[in-house]
Symmetry: C2
Subunit: 170 residues, 2 copies
């Protein structure tokens, strides 16, 4: 079970980035997305709409307390931050864990998040994006096997195509 | 030489996603970012500000014509799209090429882009994000060696840390 928890979502400013974090999490083999900060029903509806159309059973919901979500989670907590240890140095250990919660900032991450997490992990120690950090983490965690994953159900499927759009309506 | 070309940037709507695409490109081993669509000086200044502070010689600039940029590029053109061939099936061939332009949509990608490109490539055939697609593509292209890359110059460096922020001012 891999959960991705988004810290401190701000409705206007973060709506697209947060949606992209959640969709990247879904596409690359996470099971759940927990939105904290603003309870943004539009973002959650967007994500659920993708699940309805493209399949799988990815869950997305809001929680009023990131702390409570972290405390009740029984697996390990991995906080993604540009200040952390290098992903390539610790992913082998993390991969042994079946239950992982990825915690993703957010403007101004409270120092408590660094302390409460089992790992603080950087995908490069350069500034880039929550979206790319989640993506690279998941791809390394799954040894790229998530790229072979199928998403049962849904309303449509895309067949890979060299030259255009090949969409099957189910 | 790896260039990333962003199609049809829209100043208000896309400013953060486009910035994240460019920063992910820089952090994960691309050399240049070409903005097409709106000539958004704030986005370009943000990217250049990161280069000034964190080093390396990543270039970012606007072009009024994506078509001209593609036509004058002497390497291969790889269009990232959820409809394309699976990245894991073709990355081995693409990796043999030294000069690659990654083309990234954009709302409503013109069908000409599919035709003019040497490869139309999908990172999963699921909807997620330009940011995660660029990231996974670059990481697979570089066989993750870009994670070891250093960025000479700049004003600061982050030392990987298990527990907090370790920033060196140069």
């Amino acid at each position: 079970m891999i959960k991705v928890l988004r810290l401190n979502h701000r409705r206007e400013r973060d709506k697209r980035i947060t949606t992209h974090v959640a969709l990247a999490a879904r596409a690359l083999g996470a099971d759940e997305f927990i939105l904290t900060g603003d309870n943004d029903s539009k973002v959650l509806e967007n994500i659920r709409g993708v699940v309805d159309r493209f399949g799988g059973d990815f869950q997305a919901y809001h929680s009023s307390s990131w702390r409570k979500e972290i405390e009740k989670f029984s697996g390990i907590i991995v906080h993604l931050t540009m200040y952390g240890e290098r992903v390539q140095d610790v992913i082998g250990d993390i991969r042994k864990e079946k239950d992982v919660m990825l915690v993703v900032g957010g403007a101004k991450v409270p120092s408590e998040v660094y302390e409460i997490s089992d790992y603080n992990i950087a995908v490069t120690n350069q500034p880039h994006s929550e979206v790319s950090s989640v993506a690279i983490f998941l791809d390394h965690y799954h040894l790229s096997k998530e790229l072979e994953m199928s998403f049962p159900g849904g309303e449509m499927r895309i067949n890979p195509s060299k030259s255009g759009k090949d969409v099957i309506n189910l």
